[in-house]
């Protein structure tokens, strides 16, 4: 019984939240890793692209709610999501036209594109705030729980409760679908293979008749999709606040680098590694330990207070860059 209680506490406070957060990071890291692999620079604007895409989703969700459309138990945001992705893709394509294409034509060094993306980050940051404000916004509607604490307690007879929020389930389901679709696209379709070919060897891709500008456009569209979905999932699960999305850039880059920049599988693994470490390090393990029969006294068994959670990403980043700079799945960076 005590062991079961320990497991339930672990699932409720560590495993489920970390799995959902990991899926969100993985989706974000996939976008970063895709742009790194194909467009050859680290896109620092990705966090703010997520914020921008989510802001559009929220505005569309409000619009749908006003005209009385909802998805019943599911959040209305899911209905708004495809339209938001389309609008976000348009924004990214416009940015590419206005900023990145100039440097690409000049064959500028990738480091210059990195710096340009920092500029784009600030602009997008401002645009998002002008669009929707700086406050925290919650936009999840529909059923809140798949399993709630009280009914779980009554059903199981345990003293600890387990909550499984619908947004957590949705995040995981959507993440699995998106990852499956992305891998299918990259490995099975002609356009996806063309993107991989361009990532491997630009000149040979050009000489094989692959249109580089089309590959670039496809990459931005996919990146917009991944960013908007990741941002919306994060917003549904927690809350939308532009500044938090800007800060998400760090764990997302940590995830992409841990997995190996340029490796999609790595990005997913990295997302979960960073999320689980972050949650595990900042969670007070006292209750789990007590159920397992350890007397912890007054110690909370919390390694780091939650305010310092970003330190976890930093430490993971440093360790990986020191000991395995190619990442776990051997990306393009050596």
């Amino acid at each position: 019984m005590e062991i079961l209680n320990a497991i339930v506490v672990f699932l409720n406070f560590v495993f489920i939240p970390a799995a959902a957060y990991g899926a969100q990071l993985a989706l974000g890291a996939l976008g970063v890793t895709l742009i790194y692999g194909i467009l050859r620079f680290s896109n620092f604007a990705h966090g703010d692209t997520m914020a921008f895409g989510t802001a559009i989703t929220i505005l569309l969700t409000w619009g749908l709610q006003t005209i009385g459309i909802s998805l019943g138990p599911l959040p209305t945001a899911l209905l708004a999501l495809p339209f938001a992705i389309a609008l976000c893709a348009v924004a990214l394509l416009a940015t590419d036209r206005a900023v990145y294409r100039f440097y690409r034509r000049k064959k500028s060094d990738p480091i210059i594109l990195v710096m340009a993306s920092v500029g784009v980050m600030f602009v997008m940051n401002g645009v998002t705030r002008l669009l929707i404000g700086v406050d925290e916004i919650r936009f999840d509607d529909g059923a809140r729980f798949v399993i709630d604490v009280r009914s779980f307690r009554e059903w199981s007879g345990l003293s600890e409760g387990l909550a499984l929020r619908s947004t957590q389930v949705i995040t995981l389901v959507v993440a699995v679908l998106v990852v499956w679709a992305l891998f299918w696209f990259l490995n099975k379709t002609r356009s996806g293979k063309a993107m991989r070919a361009y990532s491997d060897n630009e000149d040979l891709a050009l000489l094989s008749g692959i249109d580089p500008e089309r590959v670039v456009r496809l990459t931005w569209i996919i990146a917009a999709g991944l960013a908007t979905i990741a941002g919306t999932m994060y917003g549904l699960d927690k809350a939308f606040k532009p500044f938090n999305y800007f800060q998400l850039l760090l764990p997302i880059f940590a995830a992409a680098i841990v997995g190996g920049l340029g490796s999609p599988v790595g990005a997913i693994a990295g997302g979960f590694i960073v999320a689980f470490s972050e949650v595990a390090v900042t969670y007070p393990w006292k209750r789990v330990a007590e159920y397992l029969g350890f007397d912890t006294g007054s110690a909370m068994l919390q390694l780091l207070s939650t305010e310092y959670k970003f330190a976890v990403s930093f430490v993971i980043l440093i360790i990986v860059l020191l000991f395995r700079p190619t990442g776990l799945f051997r990306g393009k960076s050596v």
């Binding site: 064959k107 480091i111 002609r190 491997d200």
Partner: protein, 276 residues
């Protein structure tokens, strides 16, 4: 590169923010000009009186002429820095010709960019970076046939027949293969476009002598199948042995031209270039 180098190149070394692998050199934005008429009595491919260099740099080729007849193997040989690869790149549209013209199969293609020359029937195998390393052998071949809309399976079977070693590794990533096998994949990829002419830039660079002989065998087989081959080679003796026509370049200009046999017997070529 083209910028005024504000960071002294330091940013290139941080692979955690920039991806320098597989970056392109060719300007893919250059548009093709019109295709002109060829001249009567032209060989299948001829680059005539080519003079030019890279970008705005100095001329590397000086009044250089290279031609390939239908069904023949032509080789370009010469000492280091003679402009062998440059001559081939000039034929392929990768440098600015200030004078001269390139004519293929009865058409003047001087104004075409490299992409469009591939569509016009040129199959080009670069010296290095000539495969997609993270993609499987089969995917490499598929990418070679990217411009084709018809059924590619037959061509693929033909290529696999020509290179059985490649066929055995079709599901393996091309970057994991040995040097010789990679070259075979590179040639196979170029053959997938069904070119009317195959251009090889030092196909045997950095492979062992046994593998080199095998590659030459395959190249002869390709030429005997009716596909004209133009090849730049470091290993002059072996190359001249199989060549129907050989061009010896010195400092970007034609020094000697003739059949492989003639040049092998030419006293001056032997003394200055083949080493006795």
């Amino acid at each position: 590169m083209s910028d005024s180098d504000p960071f002294g190149g330091r940013g290139h070394r941080d692979a955690s923010i920039v991806n320098m692998k597989g970056r392109g050199q060719i300007d893919g934005t250059r548009r093709s000009g019109p295709v002109g008429e060829g001249r009567a009595g032209d060989p299948f491919l001829i680059g005539e009186n080519m003079t030019g260099g890279y970008g705005k740099g100095p001329d590397i080729l000086h009044d250089c002429t290279i031609a390939v007849e239908q069904g023949e193997i032509a080789v370009i040989v010469g000492p280091n820095g003679a402009g062998k690869s440059t001559a081939m790149k000039a034929l392929f549209g990768m440098l600015n010709l200030r004078e001269g013209s390139v004519r293929l199969n009865g058409r003047d293609i001087t104004e075409l960019n490299p992409q469009d020359r591939v569509k016009a029937g040129m199959g080009f195998v670069p010296q290095v970076n000539n495969i997609f390393p993270s993609m499987t052998v089969e995917e490499n071949l598929e990418m070679g046939a990217y411009i084709r809309d018809d059924d590619i399976r037959q061509t693929m079977e033909q290529v696999y027949e020509l290179f059985p070693a490649v066929a055995d590794k079709r599901k393996q990533a091309a970057g994991e293969l040995s040097g010789g096998q990679r070259q075979q994949v590179a040639v196979s990829r170029a053959l997938m476009t069904k070119p009317s002419l195959l251009m090889l830039d030092e196909p045997t660079a950095g492979v062992s002598p046994i593998v080199m002989d095998e590659l030459f065998d395959r190249i002869i087989a390709i030429a005997r199948g009716g596909l004209p081959v133009l090849m730049v080679e470091q290993n002059a003796k072996q190359a001249m042995n199989i060549a129907d026509k050989a061009y010896v370049l010195v400092q970007g200009a034609n020094a000697h031209t003739g059949t492989g046999k003639e040049l092998m017997e030419n006293e001056e070529v032997r003394r200055t270039f083949l080493g006795g």
